[in-house]
Amino acid sequence: MKTLDEFVVLFAEQFFRTEPATIKADTVFHDLEQWSSLTALSVIAMVDDEFGVTISGNDLHNAVTVEDVYKCIITKL
């Protein structure tokens, strides 16, 4: 089971033009310049690979911070 900190690192890895260190648990990720449908799909696929859990596009849309996404995953484990 991955910790929140480990998840934040994995989440940040889906961005290629954003400094990873600027992405934290409380980051409002929808406001990031590079947030897009591609990063959203990458996060969904990463979660599937790393946690064996399927989150939907709507789940991501409803999450505000990176930690919210982590909490969503936990509820589906």
Binding site: L38, A40, L41, S42, I44, A45, D49, S56, G57, N58
Partner: protein, 250 residues
């Protein structure tokens, strides 16, 4: 009153429709039946396939449960289906993920159902000589065969392969007087697009890219398929009809 001759009518025609338990496939079956066709419908889900059967106009339709991802399922379908005038290969699945996350099983699953299965279905019916001279085959391809959207690579590649296979079929089946065409729908309101990796918010944004301002309805694709199945398209083969609310003008 004499009989009205209309080349779009499907009276006296037997049409096989795969993927008929929902979405575009169900709409094709329903609209074909309204135009007088006898429909042979197939799908995996018995309950939903029965719902399609119940929705058909007229008599004499047949429903065959088969898993077309398996060669045995295709053989079963081809054995049980009578000689047909038309085949609509419509069954399709989607896996949405960026290239960096592809797994071999994603490729086998999507290509298996979207591409290999239609190829093997046509083979199975040709082998059994179950497509009549004057018959017509239509593949439901996709606008995604020609245009790229992030995350849609497996689906788009599977449909591009299907569109190209259609051309080979048209070439080889022309001498048998069998026509082969495809339709390439843009986004259509079906179960395939909701609740998955793409959020409702992103779908709403995507709709703004369509000159007609909305996604299609299943029956709007069915009408195009019916044109290609009917005698109205008697000199049309090897073509792919784009039905996309104007999306491809971009």
């Amino acid at each position: 009153m004499g009989v009205i001759e209309n080349p779009f009518f499907l009276t006296q025609k037997t049409i096989l429709i795969t993927g008929a338990s929902s979405g575009i496939g169900r709409a094709v079956a329903v609209e074909c039946s309204k135009l007088g066709a006898r429909c042979i419908i197939t799908g995996r889900n018995e309950k939903r396939l029965q719902e399609t059967l119940d929705a058909l106009a007229g008599e004499g339709h047949l429903s065959i449960i088969a898993d077309l991802a398996e060669p045995e399922g295709i053989d079963k379908l081809a054995d049980k289906t009578p000689e047909v005038d038309g085949i609509v290969c419509n069954a399709g699945v989607v896996v949405t993920k960026p290239v960096a996350f592809y797994k071999p099983e994603d490729l086998s699953y999507v290509f298996g159902i979207n591409t290999f299965s239609p190829m093997l279905i046509i083979k199975a019916f040709l082998k059994r000589k179950k497509i009549k001279s004057g018959g017509s085959i239509v593949f439901t391809s996709s606008a995604a065969a020609d245009s790229a959207v992030a995350g849609n690579g497996i689906y788009g590649a599977s449909k591009a392969a299907l569109t190209n296979f259609m051309r080979y079929c048209a070439l080889e089946l022309g001498p048998r007087n069998i026509r082969v065409n495809a339709v390439q729908p843009g986004m259509v309101e079906t179960d395939l697009i909701h609740g998955g990796a793409v959020s409702e918010a992103d779908l709403a944004k995507d709709k703004t890219l369509y000159p007609l301002g909305r996604y299609g309805k299943p029956e709007e694709i069915a009408y195009g398929i019916i044109y290609l199945i009917s005698d109205a398209s008697a000199w049309t083969t090897g073509t792919s009809l784009v039905i996309d609310g104007g999306y491809s003008v971009w």
